[in-house]
Amino acid sequence: MSLHDQDDPALRAAQEDRLRAVWKPPSGLFLRWTDCNNNRVGVWYVLTAFAFMLFAGVLALIMRTQLAVPDNDLVSAGTFNQLFTLHGSMMMFLFAVPMFEAVSIILLPQLLGARDLPFPRLSAFGYWSFLLGGVFVGGSIFFNAAPDGGWFMYPPLTTRTDLSGLGADIWMLGLSFIEVSSVAAAVELIVGVLKCRPPGMRLNLMPLYAWYILVVAVMILFAFPPLIAGDILFEMERLLNWPFFDASRGGDPLLWQHLFWIFGHPEVYIVFLPSIALFAMLVPTFSNRHLLGYPWIVLAAVGTAFLSFGLWVHHMFTTGLPKISLAFFSAASEAVAIPTAVQIFAFIATLWAGRVTWSTPLLYATGSLAIFVIGGLTGVMVAVAPFDWQAHDTYFIVAHLHYVLIGGTLLPLFAGLYYYWPLITGKRLSDRLGRIAFWMLFVGANLTFFPMHFSGLMGMPRRVFTYPAELGLGGLNMASTLGAWLFAAGVAVICVDLCLSPRRAKAQRNPWGAGTLEWLAHPDDEDWGIRSIPLIESRYPIWDQKDFVQKVDEGRFFLPDAEEGRRETIVTTVLDARPLAVIRLGTPSVIPILTALSLGGVFILTTYHLYWAALVCAVATLACAIWWLWTGTAEIPEKPCKPIGHGIELPLYISGPAAPGWWAMFITMMADATAFSGLVFGYYFFWTRHADFPPMAMADGPGMYWPMVALVLGVASWLATIAAREVHARGDVGIARLLLMLGIATSLAGIAAGLAGPWTHGMDPENHSYPAIVWTLTVWTVAHAGIAAIMQSYALARSIARRMDPQHDADIRNVTVYMHFFALTAIVAYATIGLFPNLS
């Protein structure tokens, strides 16, 4: 096919018909929900997250009304505690993070000129998990069973079952479920950015939004797993009475605070950076020029991501840790302001250098920047430890964090809403209503939160359901309450604007005159995403590349057709986006929903202590996952290669580090290894807390023999898999199968040997934190050995079923990636429990 073939309108129409048929969404009352196309799943995701935001906002309004006057009794103390816990938890876990993922699921394929993200079914799975978990957590308040320990759920208040009820379990298990879906989305987005860029979009031409998404998704991989590790310890204590946080049995409540804030502080940047990414898209558009300082923005994004992991203790400045430890974190907390300043001044310089077109999105961006800068400056203040000793846990912090989150997340999202609404719906929102809403939000936010700086310094602690009149805080609180109502009215105006939108006329294409790829979207959008996948030569191709839009629309770039009736997109190299292969994408299926339901069942049934039913769900989850992988991945294509236009022919099958599947496995295992390191941290943390660890009475621990046997077996299983991969690649399929069987056998033997250590030494995990953490590390490693056996069996079965052969060996390569991480886990875990007691 050459460029001129596309001159024929009939050919183009035929191509369009084929594309339309391939990307046709499923219809029917039930089947429509099995869709996995990013534009539809993304919209569901956004609407759900928006609904949770409104719900959590109403909770905040009730709280503000209760606090309007001193000694009020609108709600009881118990209800109030549920309100603030749910408000914070929902805004963080059910709004801010999912909203970023939702927006990215919609935008990223458009920005990258891809037909869809590499794993559409994974997006659908993430959405259904999110919906299920969110309804479970949010709905609990209607049964007076909502969590009531504050969004950071400090034990022992929340782990002692006599002081806290079902709410704590709902928080832990419901939100763990959502964390799993967040990690799934992160995997999807990272692989999307690294492997699914259009040909020619080198790293230095990537839209900055994609850079930010890459950075944020990587942060999720390293930030969420420590919380998952914390959740595991937490539920072990609540459900099984293993004393990780019970000081009377060698536990320490501070361990939770460490694990929570290792998650919690990066979390702030996880929800802030995507909003800055929206600025990075709309500032160039409204300055009518390229953004200044592209490498500086990348510096800022990457630098912030790293530094944000060195801040967690600044939430623990008053816990009595040595001052020197606090000082390290104070220093890092100051340092993180540098990249933030760089970002802000890159935007200011761009606006200065360009010709500014004033618009509603820019108005929102301006207002949010103003609010964010105030929040950032108070952030620098509280990073100064002595000041924080006064400000900590007061309304000053409430003011600070809301300035940051409203200026750094919420208002930028509204800016993005007004900016991208035409892209998603083809309609523009009302500028007039938008401006009215903006001023209500801006004044409302300041009126609510500015006085809180003073009420905090005047001695008002946070999380109080009332306050005495004698403290003289009534006026400030009344102002805050009035501001909150004004803010809520502003949100209501936006909702009205959204509701009126369907009745408005279609907007023109690219209404803001932007230069980036996502604005190729047509108001009468087709489900195929992009007509042909372009060759990129500029950061702003619509501005800079000649006849760009026309060429894309006429299918003059790559992959303008779907001859084989399959959904396809192009995979490219990480650095320079050279085309590598065409991959076939997942199609609408019921599997993601079923997997989400059964996994949700595991978490939700465990909450109610229905362990057998939860086990059934776990088995169902495993079955769904295998069904999904077996039918939906590493399919051997009907022909080795296909042309994508311009004389380029690409393979239809790739394996190893070039393939998206390999990256997905690698990234997932990075998250898994991070969670594991959270548990190992627990072990060594207890060591620093106790003069004798292991305690004298159990100095022998699990002994050295069985852990070492388990270690050797784990390494043997790993080596067998590597050998199987190598032998298989050389064509000796029979030997490879034998090696896989050996691998399965050693993995299973490793389970027995791993459990034998603590079992034969009679370690009672309810007794003390030492046996509890040893058992936890053991169970974690043994579970991974079990998964290793399943994976090795899977590769063996694929080989026997002829779905894997030496030319098509993605399965065994991906299993080997898992085994690398498994070997690492086994070595660290067994060396820790087996050898460390002899050293200390």
């Binding site: 501070l254 816990t319 200065w352 006064q390 001695g459």
Partner: protein
């Protein structure tokens, strides 16, 4: 902006002055130092905010090409990167020395305070004495002397905060935290629990009384000198004994030595009831005894509905009489 400022100042004035529990009206050396830091930080923040706002407004209004690529990059380098780095370095050099804890010596008065749901267990340990002096929900401090607080908790995490005296310090089960303070101005103040600790977290405060050193020494000597109180058969005392109040509440000089609930010795001189939440009038005490949950949700003390209000008032009179 100006209107907003006026409004805020007006509101601050309306809300009146709170000299009891504020980081702005200080009576301790540490709170004074931190207030100084806060003022420096605030002024710095306001100046930076003003500069950024001005630059932003100029940027938006500037005609196209009023900044070329090189000038723009120089702005990012100097205003975005180097400027903030220098400011933050200066800030660190200013703030780090302020983190040094106040030195304490073995000759200092030690006050052990433990947070409980939802009250404060207090024990004074002067360096010269072997046995501690027990109290609850009230802390007395000698002005001008260094005092070492040993802070702990048994049930859940609490946080010990006297805003006018010093920064807060968490009370964590299994740990003992130290806080060294020095009061500078005599007077009556208030402290609160700053870490969320359950249902009545908002209702967990205490009174702080900073006294001249001589007055403090006299008070301490008087408190320690309480001998056996003769068992005068007042109706209140009889009810107190009969209802088993002493199983939880200790009263020096009587056989009651319970340690589960707040110590009630010299209850009559306390300024508040129920850990800083109610004036200790006879009626309030009586109502509290009969239904503590009504004024303090989640409190551990059982209700005494079997007592008539009159009987409860009798106990209240007995308690008020202990000074």
């Amino acid at each position: 902006m100006a209107r907003a400022c006026t409004l805020i100042i007006a509101l601050l004035c309306l809300s009146g002055c709170n000299a009891q529990q504020s980081t702005l009206s200080v009576f301790g050396a540490d709170a004074r130092d931190i207030r100084h830091i806060a003022i420096v930080l605030t002024v710095g923040a306001v100046v930076i905010l003003a500069i950024t706002t001005m630059l932003y407004i100029r940027a938006v209004r500037a005609p196209e090409h009023s900044l070329d690529h090189h000038q723009g990059m120089r702005m990012i380098l100097w205003v975005g990167a180097i400027g903030p780095t220098l400011i933050l370095t200066a800030l660190l050099l200013y703030a780090l020395p302020a983190m040094r804890p106040r030195p304490a010596s073995a000759a200092d008065l030690v006050i052990r305070v433990e947070g409980e749901q939802f009250w404060w267990r207090v024990a004074y340990r002067p360096p010269s004495e072997a046995t501690p002096l027990l109290s609850a929900n009230e802390i007395r401090l000698p002005v001008g002397r260094t005092v070492l607080f040993e802070l702990g908790a048994t049930d859940v995490i609490h946080s010990f905060w006297i805003p006018g005296l010093a920064g807060k310090m968490d009370m964590i089960p299994g740990r003992t935290n130290r806080l060294v303070v020095k009061a500078e101005k005599p007077g009556r103040y208030r402290g609160v629990c700053a870490e969320f600790c359950g249902l009545s977290h908002a209702l967990m405060a205490f009174d702080v009384i900073a006294m001249e050193p001589a007055a403090f020494d006299t008070w301490m000597a008087d408190a320690r000198a309480i001998g056996p109180i003769p068992a005068v058969a007042t109706p209140g005392r009889a009810l107190f004994d009969a209802q088993g109040c002493g199983a939880c509440h200790g009263v020096r000089g009587t056989p009651h030595a319970g340690t589960i609930g707040p110590d009630l010795s010299r209850f009559g001189e306390r300024r508040t009831l129920g850990a800083g939440i109610l004036p200790p009038t006879i009626d309030n005490i009586a109502t509290f005894i009969r239904a503590p949950q009504a004024s303090k949700p989640g409190v551990r003390m059982p209700a005494y509905p079997q007592l008539s209000q009159e009987e409860a008032r009798a106990i209240a009179h007995y308690l008020k009489g202990m000074r």
